[in-house]
């Protein structure tokens, strides 16, 4: 091979340069894997296993929404002996009481901006203007 002295170091530099984002992220602490807060109330059971919730919670919420609003499926769900009404405010947030420490951790990490909270009230927001009687 001609110009071995130039080509091989050149290739090495090129590969390092192209893979820069990968190894930079591997060694940096800029974006640690999110750690959403477990329910402060100590609940251990969710409406579905954690792995499934991680993948499908948005689908489940849409199914609940359509069921409740259109198909009259307002039945309560029983999890760990406690009953919940279907809904973000009425089921999810009963255990995961902090949007900031739960929802936001992963949503920020993956840079998604769901618009749930434009209308739905976080427990914190609801407490700001509480019923006074």
């Amino acid at each position: 091979m001609y110009n071995k002295r130039f080509i091989i170091p050149g290739l090495v530099i090129f590969v390092l340069f192209v893979t820069f984002p990968l190894w930079f992220n591997a060694f940096s602490t800029a974006s640690p894997v999110p750690k959403p807060e477990l329910p402060p109330g100590g609940e251990k059971e969710c409406v579905a296993p954690a792995s499934e919730m991680r993948d499908r919670h948005m689908v489940l919420l849409n199914e609940w929404r359509d069921g409740v609003l259109r198909d009259g499926e307002r039945d309560v769900i029983t999890v760990g002996g406690k009953q919940y009404r279907k809904g973000l405010q009425m089921a999810c947030m009963q255990c995961h009481t902090s949007k900031e420490k739960f929802c936001d951790t992963c949503h920020d990490y993956t840079s998604v901006n769901p618009f749930c909270w434009d209308c739905h009230l976080t427990p914190e927001e609801a407490a700001l203007k509480k019923e006074t009687h």
Binding site: L121, P123, E131
Partner: protein
């Protein structure tokens, strides 16, 4: 060659003429049949006499399923504006309805208005003092033939099997077609973020966001829990509002409707309101 072209043009011309005049011919020859089919086109070929027998003036088809309705007994509200306010405040509270003091931006689920605005078809030139001096309770009529539902391009507003005309705020794109369609002004548009105008939150219900339409939902979420509409509950002891199934002859609301003279808003429009008034 030339001969063929002439022939083709003749045939094409005759065909075009026949095509253009066909609808007119069909219309002229079949006008009695069209007149007889009346409201329900599906009934098809009925003689004019039959149609009248099947649907006497003011009667409805055999009711099926549940159709929720509401009677406002205005006699109980006359002279008691505070009772009206109580019903309105109860609704505003359970549904996180913002209080915006501005005619353009205000949000109304249930409100009060003078007789001639509520019942323009029933107004007369010399109305009684009671009519002049009192406001009337108004809300979405949960029409049986809701024009708002017909015009909504996203099906964000729809009629439930129990007769409630409901909304899915998630789907509303804020086009406001429904506000044009509703002949009762029952819908309000969120021109701005409503949250700063909500006095106290009901944590069981969402708020709305800027750019969606909202209206009375007949307390669908409370009925699902076996509760009564919030406005009714607030004035319960007066018995001024009755709620129930219009299709169940044994229900309280049907007893009231059987006994009392009731009117609906703008009946000539054919929207078939489910809200009735005793005035």
């Amino acid at each position: 060659m030339d001969k063929q072209r002439r022939k083709f043009l003749k045939v094409a011309g005759a065909t075009a003429l026949a095509g253009i005049s066909a609808p007119a011919v069909v219309k002229l020859t079949s006008s009695p049949a069209i007149a007889s089919s009346g409201h329900d086109a599906a009934t098809g070929h009925e003689a004019p006499g039959d149609a009248h027998k099947a649907a006497p003036h003011g009667a409805e088809e055999a009711p099926k399923g549940v159709r929720l309705g509401l009677v406002v007994d205005m006699r109980k509200f006359y002279g008691k504006p505070e009772l009206l306010d109580k019903a309105i405040a109860a609704c505003n509270k359970v549904h996180n309805v913002p209080q915006i003091d501005n005619k353009k931006s205000e949000i109304k689920w249930v409100w009060k208005a003078p007789f001639e605005n509520v019942f323009p078809e029933h107004s007369s030139s010399h109305s009684s003092k009671i009519r002049k001096e009192n406001d009337f309770l108004v809300m979405c009529n949960h029409c049986d033939e809701p024009p708002c539902v017909r015009v909504c391009p996203t099906q964000a507003t729809y009629r439930l099997p129990n007769g409630i005309v409901a909304m899915d705020f998630h789907r509303c794109i804020g086009c406001r077609f429904c506000m044009m369609g509703c002949p009762y002004g029952a819908r309000s548009f969120n021109w701005e973020n409503p949250r700063p105008y909500i006095k106290e939150y009901n944590p069981d219900f969402p708020s709305r966001m800027r750019g969606v339409v909202e209206k009375c939902n007949f307390c669908g979420e409370r009925i699902a829990l076996g509760k009564e509409p919030a406005c009714l509950e607030a004035v319960k002891e007066s018995g001024a509002i009755v709620f129930g199934d219009l299709n169940d002859p044994g229900s309280e609301i049907c007893e009231v409707l059987d006994k009392e003279n009731t009117i609906q808003r703008k009946p000539s429009l054919g929207t078939k309101p489910s809200v009735f008034y005793i005035v």
